[in-house]
Symmetry: C2
Subunit: 348 residues, 2 copies
């Protein structure tokens, strides 16, 4: 899922995202709550209409940004008091308020409000953080069930907003037993889908993998399983093959703005002088609109010259590369499962 923090996947128009095959993008609850404001977006018919994105939208709970961006946080059992990174104004987020904001945005998928446990965290801290996340998950789900669909634009065919879904977030730091305990209890609560959060927060990659491997088998296979905030191209392929259905990451677009391209030949720092007269496409194996039309030399020139088109073209390629990985993984999983079925029939 490309990340559209402020209601835009940075530097890429929505029509381009559609043509690249992006079926769902993320919006950030914290950012959109602060600017332009969730009530304004509700009045304008929801985030889909506001940003002109008819496909699916997932909103995070705002928790991650509250913890990573805002100043002067004060966490209580009730919620989080924080100051805006934009103007220092004071705000209070509870699980109920986070869900209210996400409902106002009209997300297809809302995320339960959680505390993203920092890394490293000792066991006592991870336990305490997990206790909060669990309590907040219960409150998030109850509030979601009571209020989903409270938007002015609901379809007559969906009078109770049942198309809106709420996902839980598994936390537990880097403690496998806490992770398992969290997953089991959240699954009992019967969310519409399950995310694994609190990863890619600075831990070594083996630990990320270990936590995913511990939690994934405990999550229902017939509901979406989502790993938040990952990752590099080889990571997302690895996790998808393990059974992860959804991932989001700012990496393809953020790296693009810093001149880093992901290609079938590895990573290219397109600023590098070696590309100054390289007439090859960024990735000769890629058929995205950028690789079909532009050369490495041109992208290097745009980057060197500080041209805004650099961010756009680099982002389009990186997103196409990421989406292409997932398309190939999906096709290969389909083929495997078709093969298995054929084998079953032959055996039968």
């Amino acid at each position: 899922m490309p990340v559209g923090t402020q209601g835009t996947v940075k530097a890429v128009p929505q029509e381009t995202l559609e043509s690249l095959g992006a079926e769902i993008i993320l919006g950030n609850t914290y950012h959109l709550y602060l600017r332009p404001g969730h009530e304004a977006i509700r009045r304008m018919g929801g985030l889909h209409r506001f940003i002109s994105w008819p496909r699916a939208l997932l909103t995070d709970s705002g928790g991650f940004q509250v913890f990573s961006l805002s100043g002067l946080r004060k966490v209580t059992d009730d919620g989080v008091q924080f100051r805006s990174h934009l103007d220092g104004s004071s705000h209070f987020f509870t699980p109920e308020h986070s869900i209210d904001v996400q409902i106002a945005l009209g997300a297809d998928i809302c995320m339960a409000f959680d505390e993203c446990t920092e890394y490293p965290a000792d066991r006592q801290r991870a336990e305490e953080s997990l206790r909060l996340t669990m309590a907040w998950a219960t409150r998030s789900l109850a509030h979601f069930r009571a209020h989903r669909g409270e938007v002015p634009w609901l379809e007559p065919s969906d009078p109770k907003g049942c198309c809106m879904q709420c996902f839980a977030i598994v936390q537990g730091g880097m403690y496998a037993d806490l992770r398992r305990q969290c997953a089991e209890r959240l699954v009992e609560m019967d969310f519409d889908g399950y995310a694994i959060g609190g990863l890619s927060v600075g831990e070594p990659r083996e630990l990320t993998l270990e936590m995913i491997a511990e939690v994934l088998p405990l999550l229902p296979k017939d509901k979406p399983r989502y790993v938040m905030g990952v990752g590099y191209p080889d990571e997302i392929e690895q996790y998808a093959r393990m059974g992860v259905d959804m991932m989001d990451c700012v990496l393809p677009t953020r790296a693009a703005r810093h001149a880093l391209l992901f290609t079938s030949e590895g990573r290219l720092n397109i600023k590098n002088k070696q590309f100054a007269e390289d007439r090859n496409p960024p990735d000769p194996a890629c058929s995205c609109p950028v690789c079909r039309r532009y050369s490495r030399a041109y992208l290097r020139h745009l980057t060197q010259a500080g041209e805004p088109l650099a961010a756009t073209l680099n982002s389009i390629h990186n997103l196409a590369f990421y989406l292409g990985i997932m398309q190939r993984v999906r096709a290969s999983l389909h083929a495997e499962s078709a093969g298995a079925e054929t084998q079953l029939k032959a055996d039968g």
Copy 2:
């Protein structure tokens, strides 16, 4: 003509320019000479190939930028010594060198090297500047005729590069007689087209209009007549109806990056709070891809949030608006001339 200073119309991909109907764009000789360098571009097959723009390209002579951007200029009859605005390095441009650079870029239309007379300039200064421009025009044309086509990628059907053209630039400050004198002498030299330069340099608009009205009738009707560096939407319409064939201006794209939109209802500063919840398209009378998809409220949000997509979408709309004006003027001139023909036949 949209302006592509550094080999890109800022924030707008080439495929979008094509879909908007842009048939020709500008490249800036000064900028491309400094970065990535004209020899690098020649080695890569010319500017068309380097930036992936198969349609027409015009390059300015570099004179305007040398005078407006670079430091420590020293002008002699031979040429201009100047320092790069990028790194302070020292360079020397002569008419011959400017033409060499433009040939290396592979422009379809090269501009003679001129001195853009500043405003205000007293008569003596304007006369002296004009003397230089005239001498440089002679040298530019001679050098162009001797060297055009000296590029490695020429079509076999055009062994001498005859598809390349060279336009002269009429200067003369705000003195009608100097302008007329300049125009007459340049026309005698038989350039492929004629530009009126040194306008839109701070003079009142009536003076711009007066200079165009003085010069235009002296330029051959069967060759392109080009007014450089104009203008606002009503200006370009007015000049086109007077018989001007070509204009270039950074205004549509530069204004877009500063949140100023040109519309059929006048100028909108899209940053304005009044648009915060305005679900109308930027221009209800416009059918560009931006007006078909996005609202004023969304463009305002992107601008407020400092999102790069703001520059892209605002620029696309403004360029569509400018190109639309010219399309309508062309259609109306065609209709008038068809009407005149019918009338002639009826009279006959």
